[in-house]
């Protein structure tokens, strides 16, 4: 994976969780990091702070020198951050077809077709979300995030509902997609294999602390 020295992600914030306050400190130039750790440790919350939808965080988030978050909450609102966020709980807009879900951020029709082919969901394009399986839903959500032309990709257990062979293949597809475009990635997973394929740096979150492994 090519490293461009201009990329830098810095996190230094606190956020109250149900049990305790989580203190997140991270500074990396790696374009592909994985955050691992036990469930309930707050991994998904970190992605929410990065996406800009978490109002309780206090402290810094800097993306390539741009301050996204300050001591008083988000500075750059989520609609200006251009992150491709795929939350763990996969939500597709139920009133839109797969095609319209993929096209939500306004990509060209050709780009939608292209991404659908890449993720092997071309035959699902006209369906409604409620007629999809769990694995299909994950791929649509992933495709929707990729089609938003993100500057940063935030994936939260993105392949958990896929079976093994497909899972490995998609991990490879996403890895290549990021590498080709130079899009940095933050992956949350407790699957060693995913982290192995996609991440070059691993951070471990437990007891409210983020530690580089």
């Amino acid at each position: 994976m090519a490293t461009d020295s201009s990329y830098r992600l810095g996190l230094d914030f606190e956020i109250p969780l149900a049990s305790k306050t989580m203190r997140v400190k991270l500074d990396t130039e790696s374009r592909a990091i994985a955050i691992v750790g036990p469930s309930g440790a707050g991994k998904s919350t970190i992605l929410r702070v990065l996406a800009g939808v978490e109002r309780r965080a206090r402290g810094l988030v800097t993306f390539c020198g741009q301050r996204w978050q300050g001591d008083d909450g988000p500075i750059v609102p989520p609609w200006l951050r251009r992150v491709g966020w795929v939350p763990q709980e996969v939500l597709l807009f139920p009133h839109l077809t797969v095609r319209d879900n993929l096209g939500y951020a306004g990509p060209s029709a050709a780009a939608v077709e292209e991404t659908a082919r890449l993720l092997q969901i071309t035959e699902l394009l006209e369906r409604r979300p409620r007629r999809l399986s769990g694995g299909e839903r994950q791929r649509v959500a992933l495709g929707r995030a990729l089609l938003a032309e993100p500057k940063l990709l935030l994936l939260d257990e993105p392949f958990s509902a896929l079976d093994r062979p497909l899972r490995a293949e998609l991990a490879r597809v996403v890895g290549e997609w990021c590498a080709e475009r130079g899009v940095p990635l933050v992956l949350v997973s407790h699957d060693e294999a995913d982290a192995e394929v996609l991440a070059e740096q691993r951070w471990h979150l437990s007891d409210g602390k983020l530690v580089r492994e």
Partner: protein, 508 residues
Amino acid sequence: MTGWVLACGLVLLLRADAAAGEPVRIGFEPTVSSAKAAPDSSLLVLAASSLAEVLPRLADAWRRGGGAEVRFSFDATSRLAVQALQSPSADAFFAADREWMDWLEQRAVVREGIAVAMAANELVVVVPADASPLATPAELTRFPRIALAGENVPAGRYARAALEATGVWAEVADRVVRGGSVRGALEWVARGEVPVGIVYRTDAAAEPGVRVAFAFEATNHPRVLYWSAPLSASRAPESTDSFLRFVVSEQGRDIVAASGFALVEPSAVQALPSVAVVQAPAVASAIRLSLMVALLATIAGLVPAVGLGWLLARREFRGKALLSTLVMAPLVMPPVVTGFLLLSVLGGGTPLGSRLASLGLPVPFTILGAAIAAFVVGLPLYVITIRGAFEAVDPMYEELSWTLGAPPRRTFFRVSLPLALPGIAAGAMLAFARALGEFGATVVLAGNVEGSTRTIALAVYTLLESPSGRSTIWVLVGASVGISLLALLGFEALSRRQKLHLEDRHGH
């Protein structure tokens, strides 16, 4: 008329009795008859609302002389008569006209021939205390509106008869607004909502906000007489009888006179011309009006209800609890109170009301007023349903939409609104149903004006006080129940649809 003759006989007999008996107190021996009644049983008396001041005084005096306790239910004679027929649990009845007493006699609610004329009243024209004077019925034609009591309420009928006899009815008929009772009409004049009204002299005297302009000549309308009678179903007939005799005793007559009523001389009460025939409100117009008012209220409420519902579901801000409370208030307040508050803000005499009127949009007594009343009373259900619909939408849909580049406003129209749409329609259905059933606020703010504010609810209410018109009531009741149930079925179906709508996976 035999009833009357007998009654007069009774009065004369009582007085003759007294004259022949004890010299000290004339005509009445309360201790004797009340001693026979169960000592702890109080009386329930149904009485015309214009007697609300004098009867408690009479009861008080009677009790001090050894009588039982008397409880009163004051309302328009017409409504009381219908109540007396349907739930005969009261002991005595005081009517403001002879016709309703006849009606009760025909239905054996009152035994024939025992009603007594216990007081007389005068019909007067009142204007707000600070208005310029007027002296003749002909001058009534220069007013845009005239307040009368309801058309089946005695005061309303007497007033119409007086206007007919003085030759101005034809000209003013379409400017008449009807309060339910005399008090209602009086209130409007006192508040300046209506520039002139026709009420009883005793009511006018009790209201400092009005001035009596002139009284109608007694020959212009049937004499206003109050009739008292025991009800056949009374469980304390002797005590009741004792009270009624006290009312026409010397002591009672003093109290009646001191309250501003005229006393009844037997010679004055003979030929009683029948007053105007009861008119049934038009069924089609009531149904059409109801639908129109409810539809107007629902359409006008859509944007505010969606805005408020979204705000309350999705935003935290200072004063949120206060806003929510204000919006919900009409749900728990008596609609009559809501109507009164609306009248205080939008009435013709208020800055806002007169501004609207100058724009050609007067609120009181117009369909606009009825729609506003329905809108305010329906809004809580509208907002609560829509708030629930927005709350049912997982906020993460909106968050996702933001990260996909859609700012809040675009997110609202592309995600929140479409996802809450069936719930919004359900809210509209519920608000429509509520608007359809609105009565209390409407009657206070918009009155009961045939063709412009008399909706189904008000038409049924009007018919309830009419001796005839039972079959009409059933048509209106059927229409009301039918439309309301349809609207509620629509609400149910849409609510279910909302749940399905949000399912983005099978069996989830």
